[in-house]
Symmetry: C2
Subunit: 289 residues, 2 copies
Protein backbone atom coordinates (compact mmCIF):
# COMPACT_ATOMS: atom_id res chain seq x y z
CA UNK A 1 0.00 0.00 0.00
CA UNK A 2 1.23 3.49 -0.62
CA UNK A 3 3.48 4.96 2.10
CA UNK A 4 1.34 8.10 2.60
CA UNK A 5 -1.68 5.91 3.29
CA UNK A 6 0.22 3.66 5.71
CA UNK A 7 1.68 6.64 7.60
CA UNK A 8 -1.80 8.11 8.09
CA UNK A 9 -3.15 4.77 9.37
CA UNK A 10 -0.38 4.84 11.97
CA UNK A 11 -1.02 8.49 12.91
CA UNK A 12 -4.73 7.86 13.26
CA UNK A 13 -4.12 4.75 15.36
CA UNK A 14 -2.09 6.83 17.83
CA UNK A 15 -4.64 9.64 17.90
CA UNK A 16 -7.62 7.31 18.41
CA UNK A 17 -5.87 5.34 21.14
CA UNK A 18 -5.01 8.36 23.26
CA UNK A 19 -8.49 9.83 22.73
CA UNK A 20 -10.40 6.76 23.92
CA UNK A 21 -11.74 7.32 27.42
CA UNK A 22 -11.72 6.08 30.10
CA UNK A 23 -8.70 3.82 29.71
CA UNK A 24 -7.99 3.15 33.39
CA UNK A 25 -4.65 4.55 34.54
CA UNK A 26 -3.62 6.00 31.19
CA UNK A 27 -3.69 9.44 29.63
CA UNK A 28 -6.80 9.99 27.53
CA UNK A 29 -8.86 12.92 26.33
CA UNK A 30 -10.08 13.54 29.88
CA UNK A 31 -7.01 12.57 31.91
CA UNK A 32 -3.53 14.06 32.04
CA UNK A 33 -0.45 13.40 34.12
CA UNK A 34 1.33 16.33 35.67
CA UNK A 35 4.00 16.85 32.99
CA UNK A 36 2.58 14.81 30.16
CA UNK A 37 -0.79 15.70 28.72
CA UNK A 38 -3.27 14.55 26.11
CA UNK A 39 -2.07 17.21 23.67
CA UNK A 40 1.52 15.96 23.90
CA UNK A 41 0.38 12.61 22.54
CA UNK A 42 -1.51 14.33 19.72
CA UNK A 43 1.52 16.42 18.76
CA UNK A 44 3.77 13.36 18.86
CA UNK A 45 1.42 11.40 16.59
CA UNK A 46 1.26 14.28 14.11
CA UNK A 47 4.97 15.08 14.26
CA UNK A 48 6.22 11.61 13.49
CA UNK A 49 4.60 11.43 10.03
CA UNK A 50 7.73 11.70 7.82
CA UNK A 51 9.49 8.90 9.70
CA UNK A 52 6.45 6.66 9.26
CA UNK A 53 6.16 7.48 5.58
CA UNK A 54 9.83 6.75 4.98
CA UNK A 55 9.64 3.51 6.96
CA UNK A 56 6.67 2.42 4.83
CA UNK A 57 8.85 2.47 1.73
CA UNK A 58 11.87 0.76 3.31
CA UNK A 59 12.75 -2.87 3.84
CA UNK A 60 15.50 -2.40 6.43
CA UNK A 61 16.49 0.00 9.20
CA UNK A 62 13.97 -0.90 11.93
CA UNK A 63 16.18 0.33 14.77
CA UNK A 64 17.05 3.57 13.05
CA UNK A 65 13.39 4.31 12.24
CA UNK A 66 12.37 3.69 15.85
CA UNK A 67 15.13 6.03 17.01
CA UNK A 68 14.17 8.73 14.53
CA UNK A 69 10.50 8.39 15.44
CA UNK A 70 11.42 9.02 19.07
CA UNK A 71 13.57 12.02 18.14
CA UNK A 72 10.84 13.51 15.93
CA UNK A 73 8.21 12.90 18.60
CA UNK A 74 10.06 14.96 21.21
CA UNK A 75 10.81 17.71 18.69
CA UNK A 76 7.06 18.38 18.45
CA UNK A 77 6.07 18.50 22.12
CA UNK A 78 7.46 19.11 25.58
CA UNK A 79 5.76 16.22 27.39
CA UNK A 80 8.70 13.81 27.07
CA UNK A 81 8.41 10.18 26.02
CA UNK A 82 4.91 9.48 24.73
CA UNK A 83 5.10 6.66 22.15
CA UNK A 84 8.34 4.71 22.63
CA UNK A 85 6.71 1.33 23.10
CA UNK A 86 4.20 2.06 20.37
CA UNK A 87 6.97 2.82 17.87
CA UNK A 88 8.65 -0.50 18.63
CA UNK A 89 5.48 -2.20 17.39
CA UNK A 90 4.41 0.33 14.75
CA UNK A 91 7.67 0.66 12.83
CA UNK A 92 7.92 -3.01 11.75
CA UNK A 93 4.16 -3.03 11.03
CA UNK A 94 4.45 0.11 8.90
CA UNK A 95 7.45 -1.32 7.02
CA UNK A 96 5.53 -4.54 6.38
CA UNK A 97 2.45 -2.55 5.36
CA UNK A 98 4.39 -0.78 2.64
CA UNK A 99 5.02 -4.13 0.98
CA UNK A 100 1.51 -5.52 1.42
CA UNK A 101 -2.03 -5.03 0.17
CA UNK A 102 -3.92 -7.05 2.77
CA UNK A 103 -3.85 -8.17 6.39
CA UNK A 104 -2.77 -11.77 5.67
CA UNK A 105 0.31 -10.45 3.87
CA UNK A 106 0.93 -7.98 6.70
CA UNK A 107 0.97 -10.77 9.25
CA UNK A 108 3.51 -12.79 7.27
CA UNK A 109 5.65 -9.84 6.29
CA UNK A 110 5.97 -8.31 9.76
CA UNK A 111 7.37 -11.59 11.08
CA UNK A 112 10.06 -11.42 8.43
CA UNK A 113 10.83 -7.74 9.07
CA UNK A 114 11.57 -8.35 12.75
CA UNK A 115 13.43 -11.63 12.10
CA UNK A 116 15.73 -9.86 9.65
CA UNK A 117 16.80 -7.13 12.06
CA UNK A 118 20.54 -6.73 12.54
CA UNK A 119 23.09 -5.89 15.21
CA UNK A 120 22.94 -2.33 13.84
CA UNK A 121 19.21 -2.24 14.64
CA UNK A 122 19.88 -3.34 18.22
CA UNK A 123 22.50 -0.60 18.60
CA UNK A 124 20.09 2.02 17.22
CA UNK A 125 17.35 0.98 19.65
CA UNK A 126 19.77 1.29 22.54
CA UNK A 127 20.73 4.73 21.28
CA UNK A 128 17.02 5.59 21.16
CA UNK A 129 16.59 4.58 24.80
CA UNK A 130 19.45 6.91 25.59
CA UNK A 131 17.99 9.75 23.48
CA UNK A 132 14.56 9.43 25.04
CA UNK A 133 15.85 8.91 28.57
CA UNK A 134 13.43 6.00 28.84
CA UNK A 135 13.58 4.09 32.08
CA UNK A 136 12.79 0.45 31.50
CA UNK A 137 14.14 -2.79 32.84
CA UNK A 138 17.48 -3.50 31.17
CA UNK A 139 17.73 -6.59 29.00
CA UNK A 140 19.97 -9.17 30.62
CA UNK A 141 23.10 -7.32 31.73
CA UNK A 142 22.76 -4.50 29.18
CA UNK A 143 21.99 -1.28 31.01
CA UNK A 144 19.91 0.94 28.82
CA UNK A 145 21.55 4.02 27.45
CA UNK A 146 24.92 2.79 28.62
CA UNK A 147 27.68 3.07 25.99
CA UNK A 148 29.30 -0.13 27.35
CA UNK A 149 26.10 -2.02 26.54
CA UNK A 150 26.40 -1.02 22.91
CA UNK A 151 29.93 -2.41 22.80
CA UNK A 152 28.71 -5.63 24.42
CA UNK A 153 25.87 -5.98 21.88
CA UNK A 154 28.34 -5.58 19.04
CA UNK A 155 30.82 -8.00 20.60
CA UNK A 156 28.20 -10.71 21.09
CA UNK A 157 26.68 -10.01 17.65
CA UNK A 158 23.13 -9.69 18.99
CA UNK A 159 20.43 -8.58 16.55
CA UNK A 160 17.41 -6.58 17.66
CA UNK A 161 15.33 -9.75 17.31
CA UNK A 162 17.80 -11.57 19.62
CA UNK A 163 17.38 -8.78 22.18
CA UNK A 164 13.59 -9.10 21.96
CA UNK A 165 13.84 -12.86 22.47
CA UNK A 166 15.82 -12.18 25.66
CA UNK A 167 13.10 -9.79 26.91
CA UNK A 168 10.01 -11.66 25.76
CA UNK A 169 9.46 -13.33 29.13
CA UNK A 170 8.87 -10.09 30.96
CA UNK A 171 7.86 -7.59 28.26
CA UNK A 172 4.72 -8.03 26.14
CA UNK A 173 6.05 -5.66 23.47
CA UNK A 174 9.12 -7.86 22.98
CA UNK A 175 6.82 -10.89 23.15
CA UNK A 176 4.85 -9.49 20.20
CA UNK A 177 8.01 -9.42 18.11
CA UNK A 178 8.77 -13.01 18.98
CA UNK A 179 5.29 -14.50 18.62
CA UNK A 180 4.30 -12.81 15.35
CA UNK A 181 2.29 -9.90 16.80
CA UNK A 182 -0.46 -12.22 18.07
CA UNK A 183 -2.06 -9.79 20.51
CA UNK A 184 -1.86 -7.00 17.93
CA UNK A 185 -3.82 -8.93 15.30
CA UNK A 186 -6.26 -10.18 17.93
CA UNK A 187 -6.79 -6.57 19.05
CA UNK A 188 -7.49 -5.50 15.46
CA UNK A 189 -10.15 -8.21 15.10
CA UNK A 190 -11.74 -7.26 18.43
CA UNK A 191 -11.99 -3.55 17.58
CA UNK A 192 -13.47 -4.29 14.15
CA UNK A 193 -15.99 -6.66 15.69
CA UNK A 194 -17.02 -4.26 18.45
CA UNK A 195 -17.28 -1.23 16.17
CA UNK A 196 -20.23 -2.90 14.42
CA UNK A 197 -22.44 -2.09 17.40
CA UNK A 198 -20.44 0.54 19.31
CA UNK A 199 -18.71 3.87 18.85
CA UNK A 200 -14.99 3.77 18.06
CA UNK A 201 -14.34 5.12 21.57
CA UNK A 202 -16.23 2.35 23.31
CA UNK A 203 -14.80 -0.33 21.01
CA UNK A 204 -11.29 0.76 21.98
CA UNK A 205 -12.04 1.02 25.71
CA UNK A 206 -13.62 -2.41 25.83
CA UNK A 207 -10.77 -4.01 23.87
CA UNK A 208 -8.28 -2.29 26.18
CA UNK A 209 -10.03 -3.81 29.21
CA UNK A 210 -10.07 -7.26 27.61
CA UNK A 211 -6.36 -7.18 26.77
CA UNK A 212 -5.55 -5.88 30.25
CA UNK A 213 -7.65 -8.56 31.93
CA UNK A 214 -6.01 -11.37 29.99
CA UNK A 215 -2.38 -10.23 30.15
CA UNK A 216 -0.53 -8.61 32.96
CA UNK A 217 0.79 -5.25 31.78
CA UNK A 218 4.57 -5.53 31.77
CA UNK A 219 5.04 -1.76 32.01
CA UNK A 220 3.28 -1.92 35.39
CA UNK A 221 5.34 -4.98 36.31
CA UNK A 222 8.59 -3.12 35.52
CA UNK A 223 7.52 0.00 37.43
CA UNK A 224 6.03 -1.82 40.46
CA UNK A 225 6.17 -5.62 40.57
CA UNK A 226 4.57 -8.76 39.20
CA UNK A 227 1.96 -8.85 41.95
CA UNK A 228 0.75 -5.34 41.20
CA UNK A 229 0.45 -6.12 37.47
CA UNK A 230 -1.47 -9.31 38.22
CA UNK A 231 -3.77 -7.49 40.61
CA UNK A 232 -4.61 -4.83 37.99
CA UNK A 233 -5.42 -7.51 35.41
CA UNK A 234 -7.59 -9.38 37.89
CA UNK A 235 -9.51 -6.19 38.70
CA UNK A 236 -10.03 -5.48 34.99
CA UNK A 237 -11.39 -9.00 34.56
CA UNK A 238 -13.79 -8.58 37.47
CA UNK A 239 -15.23 -5.39 35.99
CA UNK A 240 -15.71 -7.06 32.61
CA UNK A 241 -17.31 -10.12 34.17
CA UNK A 242 -19.66 -8.11 36.33
CA UNK A 243 -21.21 -6.19 33.48
CA UNK A 244 -20.88 -8.58 30.56
CA UNK A 245 -19.31 -6.08 28.20
CA UNK A 246 -22.05 -3.47 28.43
CA UNK A 247 -19.97 -0.33 28.57
CA UNK A 248 -22.79 1.87 29.85
CA UNK A 249 -23.29 -0.36 32.88
CA UNK A 250 -19.53 -0.58 33.25
CA UNK A 251 -18.91 3.15 33.22
CA UNK A 252 -19.06 3.87 36.95
CA UNK A 253 -16.80 0.91 37.75
CA UNK A 254 -14.45 1.95 34.96
CA UNK A 255 -14.26 5.49 36.28
CA UNK A 256 -13.57 4.33 39.82
CA UNK A 257 -10.85 1.93 38.60
CA UNK A 258 -9.40 4.78 36.50
CA UNK A 259 -9.27 7.20 39.45
CA UNK A 260 -7.61 4.61 41.65
CA UNK A 261 -4.88 3.71 39.13
CA UNK A 262 -4.19 7.37 38.30
CA UNK A 263 -3.91 8.17 42.01
CA UNK A 264 -1.39 5.35 42.51
CA UNK A 265 0.52 6.23 39.32
CA UNK A 266 -0.22 2.78 37.87
CA UNK A 267 -0.40 3.11 34.09
CA UNK A 268 -0.92 0.12 31.82
CA UNK A 269 1.35 1.57 29.14
CA UNK A 270 2.15 -1.68 27.33
CA UNK A 271 -1.54 -2.43 26.90
CA UNK A 272 -1.94 1.01 25.27
CA UNK A 273 0.93 0.17 22.90
CA UNK A 274 -0.83 -3.03 21.81
CA UNK A 275 -4.02 -1.02 21.22
CA UNK A 276 -2.14 1.38 18.93
CA UNK A 277 -0.64 -1.49 16.97
CA UNK A 278 -4.05 -3.20 16.75
CA UNK A 279 -5.77 -0.01 15.59
CA UNK A 280 -3.11 0.36 12.91
CA UNK A 281 -3.82 -3.15 11.64
CA UNK A 282 -7.58 -2.49 11.67
CA UNK A 283 -7.21 0.81 9.76
CA UNK A 284 -4.75 -0.81 7.33
CA UNK A 285 -7.40 -3.46 6.76
CA UNK A 286 -9.92 -0.77 5.80
CA UNK A 287 -11.76 -0.03 9.06
CA UNK A 288 -13.73 3.24 8.85
CA UNK A 289 -16.13 4.81 11.34
Amino acid sequence: MNPAHIARCAQLAMVLEVSATPKPGNIDRDHNYTDTRFEHFLASAVGVYPVLEKAASSSSGVGSFIRHAVLESVRWQKGGNTHFGAFILLIPLVMAGGACGDTACLREKVRRVVKETTVGDAVELYRAFYDAKVKVKPVDDFSLGDRDSIDKIKKRGLTLFDMMEMSAGYDIIAEEWVNGFQKTFWCARMVREKIKTRSINDAVVLTFMEILSENKDTFIQAKFDREKAEDVSKRAGEILKKVGGDIEVMRSDLNAFDRELLYEGVNPGSTADIIIAGLFVALFGGMRF
Copy 2:
Protein backbone atom coordinates in the same frame (compact mmCIF):
# COMPACT_ATOMS: atom_id res chain seq x y z
CA MET B 1 9.72 25.94 5.10
CA ASN B 2 9.65 22.32 4.08
CA PRO B 3 6.27 20.97 2.94
CA ALA B 4 6.26 18.05 5.41
CA HIS B 5 6.73 20.50 8.27
CA ILE B 6 3.99 22.82 7.02
CA ALA B 7 1.53 19.96 6.52
CA ARG B 8 2.08 18.78 10.10
CA CYS B 9 1.53 22.30 11.46
CA ALA B 10 -1.83 22.30 9.66
CA GLN B 11 -2.76 18.81 10.90
CA LEU B 12 -1.86 19.71 14.46
CA ALA B 13 -3.82 22.97 14.25
CA MET B 14 -6.96 21.00 13.30
CA VAL B 15 -6.40 18.39 15.99
CA LEU B 16 -5.77 20.96 18.74
CA GLU B 17 -8.77 23.05 17.77
CA VAL B 18 -11.25 20.19 17.90
CA SER B 19 -9.74 18.93 21.17
CA ALA B 20 -10.04 22.23 23.05
CA THR B 21 -12.97 22.08 25.48
CA PRO B 22 -15.43 23.57 26.18
CA LYS B 23 -15.86 25.56 22.98
CA PRO B 24 -19.50 26.53 23.40
CA GLY B 25 -21.74 25.06 20.71
CA ASN B 26 -19.02 23.20 18.84
CA ILE B 27 -17.77 19.64 18.75
CA ASP B 28 -14.84 19.10 21.08
CA ARG B 29 -13.23 16.22 22.92
CA ASP B 30 -16.24 16.02 25.25
CA HIS B 31 -19.08 16.97 22.90
CA ASN B 32 -20.42 15.27 19.79
CA TYR B 33 -23.32 15.92 17.47
CA THR B 34 -25.57 13.02 16.54
CA ASP B 35 -23.92 12.07 13.24
CA THR B 36 -20.63 13.92 13.49
CA ARG B 37 -18.26 13.13 16.31
CA PHE B 38 -14.94 14.21 17.74
CA GLU B 39 -13.18 11.24 16.10
CA HIS B 40 -14.47 12.26 12.65
CA PHE B 41 -12.59 15.54 12.99
CA LEU B 42 -9.44 13.69 14.06
CA ALA B 43 -9.65 11.32 11.09
CA SER B 44 -10.24 14.21 8.71
CA ALA B 45 -7.20 16.10 10.03
CA VAL B 46 -5.01 13.02 9.69
CA GLY B 47 -6.41 11.98 6.31
CA VAL B 48 -5.83 15.28 4.54
CA TYR B 49 -2.03 15.22 4.97
CA PRO B 50 -0.96 14.53 1.36
CA VAL B 51 -3.11 17.37 0.01
CA LEU B 52 -1.57 19.76 2.54
CA GLU B 53 1.95 18.61 1.74
CA LYS B 54 1.39 19.04 -1.98
CA ALA B 55 -0.19 22.47 -1.50
CA ALA B 56 2.84 23.54 0.53
CA SER B 57 5.06 23.04 -2.48
CA SER B 58 2.73 24.69 -5.01
CA SER B 59 2.21 28.30 -6.01
CA SER B 60 -1.16 27.89 -7.74
CA GLY B 61 -4.25 25.70 -7.60
CA VAL B 62 -5.97 27.02 -4.45
CA GLY B 63 -9.45 25.93 -5.54
CA SER B 64 -8.33 22.49 -6.58
CA PHE B 65 -6.43 21.92 -3.31
CA ILE B 66 -9.48 22.95 -1.28
CA ARG B 67 -11.62 20.56 -3.30
CA HIS B 68 -9.16 17.69 -2.92
CA ALA B 69 -8.81 18.38 0.80
CA VAL B 70 -12.59 18.02 1.14
CA LEU B 71 -12.61 14.81 -0.90
CA GLU B 72 -9.75 13.30 1.12
CA SER B 73 -11.39 14.35 4.38
CA VAL B 74 -14.58 12.42 3.64
CA ARG B 75 -12.61 9.41 2.41
CA TRP B 76 -11.25 8.97 5.96
CA GLN B 77 -14.41 9.25 8.03
CA LYS B 78 -18.17 8.90 7.86
CA GLY B 79 -19.14 12.06 9.74
CA GLY B 80 -19.60 14.22 6.66
CA ASN B 81 -18.27 17.75 6.26
CA THR B 82 -15.90 18.55 9.09
CA HIS B 83 -13.33 21.09 7.84
CA PHE B 84 -14.66 22.85 4.75
CA GLY B 85 -14.35 26.39 6.11
CA ALA B 86 -11.02 25.56 7.70
CA PHE B 87 -9.61 24.37 4.36
CA ILE B 88 -10.63 27.65 2.70
CA LEU B 89 -8.32 29.41 5.16
CA LEU B 90 -5.67 26.72 5.57
CA ILE B 91 -4.91 25.99 1.93
CA PRO B 92 -3.71 29.50 1.00
CA LEU B 93 -1.83 29.71 4.32
CA VAL B 94 -0.14 26.38 3.70
CA MET B 95 0.78 27.40 0.14
CA ALA B 96 2.23 30.67 1.43
CA GLY B 97 4.04 28.80 4.23
CA GLY B 98 5.87 26.65 1.72
CA ALA B 99 7.48 29.78 0.27
CA CYS B 100 8.27 31.46 3.61
CA GLY B 101 10.55 31.08 6.61
CA ASP B 102 8.84 33.45 9.02
CA THR B 103 5.47 34.93 9.96
CA ALA B 104 6.05 38.35 8.39
CA CYS B 105 6.68 36.67 5.03
CA LEU B 106 3.64 34.43 5.56
CA ARG B 107 1.41 37.46 6.06
CA GLU B 108 2.61 39.10 2.85
CA LYS B 109 2.65 35.94 0.80
CA VAL B 110 -0.84 34.73 1.73
CA ARG B 111 -2.30 38.03 0.52
CA ARG B 112 -0.66 37.41 -2.83
CA VAL B 113 -1.77 33.77 -3.02
CA VAL B 114 -5.44 34.68 -2.63
CA LYS B 115 -5.19 37.74 -4.89
CA GLU B 116 -3.73 35.60 -7.67
CA THR B 117 -6.54 33.04 -7.68
CA THR B 118 -8.24 32.43 -11.02
CA VAL B 119 -11.62 31.67 -12.52
CA GLY B 120 -10.54 28.03 -12.45
CA ASP B 121 -10.11 28.26 -8.68
CA ALA B 122 -13.63 29.65 -8.30
CA VAL B 123 -15.02 26.81 -10.38
CA GLU B 124 -13.12 24.23 -8.31
CA LEU B 125 -14.47 25.67 -5.05
CA TYR B 126 -18.01 25.48 -6.40
CA ARG B 127 -17.35 21.87 -7.36
CA ALA B 128 -16.10 21.26 -3.82
CA PHE B 129 -19.34 22.64 -2.37
CA TYR B 130 -21.17 20.21 -4.60
CA ASP B 131 -18.90 17.28 -3.62
CA ALA B 132 -19.24 17.97 0.09
CA LYS B 133 -22.96 18.74 -0.07
CA VAL B 134 -22.22 21.82 2.01
CA LYS B 135 -25.19 24.02 2.68
CA VAL B 136 -24.15 27.65 2.90
CA LYS B 137 -25.63 30.88 1.74
CA PRO B 138 -25.06 31.22 -2.01
CA VAL B 139 -22.88 34.07 -3.22
CA ASP B 140 -24.94 36.65 -5.09
CA ASP B 141 -27.10 34.69 -7.54
CA PHE B 142 -24.79 31.67 -7.72
CA SER B 143 -26.49 28.71 -6.11
CA LEU B 144 -23.92 26.44 -4.60
CA GLY B 145 -23.36 23.14 -6.27
CA ASP B 146 -25.45 24.23 -9.22
CA ARG B 147 -23.89 23.52 -12.61
CA ASP B 148 -25.47 26.71 -13.99
CA SER B 149 -23.55 28.72 -11.44
CA ILE B 150 -20.29 27.35 -12.75
CA ASP B 151 -21.21 28.50 -16.26
CA LYS B 152 -22.14 31.93 -14.91
CA ILE B 153 -18.81 32.23 -13.06
CA LYS B 154 -16.94 31.39 -16.25
CA LYS B 155 -19.03 33.78 -18.34
CA ARG B 156 -18.48 36.68 -15.96
CA GLY B 157 -14.80 35.78 -15.53
CA LEU B 158 -14.95 35.81 -11.74
CA THR B 159 -11.86 34.67 -9.85
CA LEU B 160 -12.07 33.00 -6.45
CA PHE B 161 -10.86 36.24 -4.90
CA ASP B 162 -13.70 38.11 -6.68
CA MET B 163 -16.19 35.64 -5.22
CA MET B 164 -14.75 36.17 -1.73
CA GLU B 165 -15.05 39.94 -2.16
CA MET B 166 -18.72 39.45 -2.98
CA SER B 167 -19.22 37.38 0.20
CA ALA B 168 -17.00 39.32 2.59
CA GLY B 169 -19.90 41.34 4.02
CA TYR B 170 -21.67 38.33 5.45
CA ASP B 171 -18.97 35.65 5.79
CA ILE B 172 -15.94 36.10 8.06
CA ILE B 173 -14.01 33.39 6.18
CA ALA B 174 -14.37 35.33 2.93
CA GLU B 175 -13.57 38.51 4.87
CA GLU B 176 -10.27 36.97 5.94
CA TRP B 177 -9.32 36.48 2.30
CA VAL B 178 -10.11 40.08 1.51
CA ASN B 179 -8.55 41.76 4.56
CA GLY B 180 -5.28 39.84 4.65
CA PHE B 181 -6.20 37.23 7.26
CA GLN B 182 -6.37 39.83 10.04
CA LYS B 183 -8.32 37.76 12.54
CA THR B 184 -6.16 34.73 11.80
CA PHE B 185 -2.91 36.52 12.64
CA TRP B 186 -4.53 38.19 15.65
CA CYS B 187 -5.67 34.76 16.85
CA ALA B 188 -2.12 33.39 16.49
CA ARG B 189 -0.74 36.23 18.63
CA MET B 190 -3.45 35.72 21.27
CA VAL B 191 -2.83 31.97 21.58
CA ARG B 192 0.94 32.47 21.84
CA GLU B 193 0.45 35.13 24.50
CA LYS B 194 -2.00 33.09 26.55
CA ILE B 195 0.04 29.89 26.38
CA LYS B 196 2.76 31.57 28.46
CA THR B 197 0.59 31.20 31.56
CA ARG B 198 -2.03 28.65 30.51
CA SER B 199 -2.39 25.17 29.04
CA ILE B 200 -2.83 24.95 25.27
CA ASN B 201 -6.45 23.88 25.88
CA ASP B 202 -7.30 26.93 27.94
CA ALA B 203 -5.40 29.29 25.63
CA VAL B 204 -7.51 28.05 22.72
CA VAL B 205 -10.81 28.20 24.62
CA LEU B 206 -10.17 31.73 25.82
CA THR B 207 -9.13 32.93 22.36
CA PHE B 208 -12.23 31.27 20.90
CA MET B 209 -14.42 33.18 23.36
CA GLU B 210 -12.67 36.47 22.58
CA ILE B 211 -13.07 36.08 18.81
CA LEU B 212 -16.69 35.04 19.24
CA SER B 213 -17.42 38.00 21.51
CA GLU B 214 -15.92 40.51 19.08
CA ASN B 215 -17.30 39.14 15.80
CA LYS B 216 -20.66 37.68 15.10
CA ASP B 217 -20.20 34.17 13.79
CA THR B 218 -21.40 34.17 10.19
CA PHE B 219 -22.00 30.44 10.17
CA ILE B 220 -24.64 31.01 12.87
CA GLN B 221 -25.94 34.00 10.93
CA ALA B 222 -26.37 31.88 7.78
CA LYS B 223 -28.05 29.03 9.68
CA PHE B 224 -30.29 31.23 11.87
CA ASP B 225 -30.18 34.99 11.41
CA ARG B 226 -28.17 38.10 12.21
CA GLU B 227 -29.92 38.61 15.52
CA LYS B 228 -29.06 35.12 16.75
CA ALA B 229 -25.40 35.58 15.80
CA GLU B 230 -25.27 38.94 17.55
CA ASP B 231 -26.93 37.51 20.64
CA VAL B 232 -24.38 34.67 20.86
CA SER B 233 -21.48 37.15 20.58
CA LYS B 234 -23.01 39.37 23.23
CA ARG B 235 -23.38 36.41 25.58
CA ALA B 236 -19.76 35.39 25.00
CA GLY B 237 -18.69 38.96 25.83
CA GLU B 238 -20.70 38.96 29.04
CA ILE B 239 -19.07 35.75 30.23
CA LEU B 240 -15.60 37.10 29.47
CA LYS B 241 -16.35 40.40 31.20
CA LYS B 242 -17.80 38.77 34.26
CA VAL B 243 -14.74 36.70 35.03
CA GLY B 244 -11.90 38.77 33.59
CA GLY B 245 -10.34 35.98 31.59
CA ASP B 246 -9.84 33.57 34.49
CA ILE B 247 -10.88 30.34 32.87
CA GLU B 248 -11.32 28.47 36.15
CA VAL B 249 -13.89 31.02 37.36
CA MET B 250 -15.43 31.01 33.89
CA ARG B 251 -15.86 27.26 33.65
CA SER B 252 -19.39 26.90 35.02
CA ASP B 253 -20.66 29.78 32.86
CA LEU B 254 -18.84 28.31 29.87
CA ASN B 255 -20.38 24.90 30.44
CA ALA B 256 -23.88 26.35 30.78
CA PHE B 257 -23.42 28.42 27.60
CA ASP B 258 -22.10 25.32 25.84
CA ARG B 259 -25.10 23.18 26.87
CA GLU B 260 -27.52 25.85 25.74
CA LEU B 261 -25.95 26.31 22.29
CA LEU B 262 -25.64 22.56 21.72
CA TYR B 263 -29.28 22.09 22.70
CA GLU B 264 -30.37 24.76 20.22
CA GLY B 265 -28.03 23.48 17.48
CA VAL B 266 -26.19 26.79 17.40
CA ASN B 267 -22.58 26.12 16.44
CA PRO B 268 -20.06 28.92 15.92
CA GLY B 269 -18.37 27.08 13.07
CA SER B 270 -16.69 30.08 11.45
CA THR B 271 -15.04 31.02 14.74
CA ALA B 272 -13.63 27.49 14.93
CA ASP B 273 -12.24 27.89 11.39
CA ILE B 274 -10.42 31.08 12.41
CA ILE B 275 -8.99 29.24 15.43
CA ILE B 276 -7.60 26.51 13.17
CA ALA B 277 -6.02 29.09 10.86
CA GLY B 278 -4.61 31.00 13.86
CA LEU B 279 -3.18 27.83 15.42
CA PHE B 280 -1.52 27.02 12.10
CA VAL B 281 0.15 30.44 12.04
CA ALA B 282 1.27 30.03 15.68
CA LEU B 283 2.72 26.56 15.04
CA PHE B 284 4.35 27.75 11.81
CA GLY B 285 5.93 30.51 13.89
CA GLY B 286 7.46 27.93 16.22
CA MET B 287 4.91 27.62 19.04
CA ARG B 288 5.53 24.52 21.16
CA PHE B 289 3.81 23.35 24.36
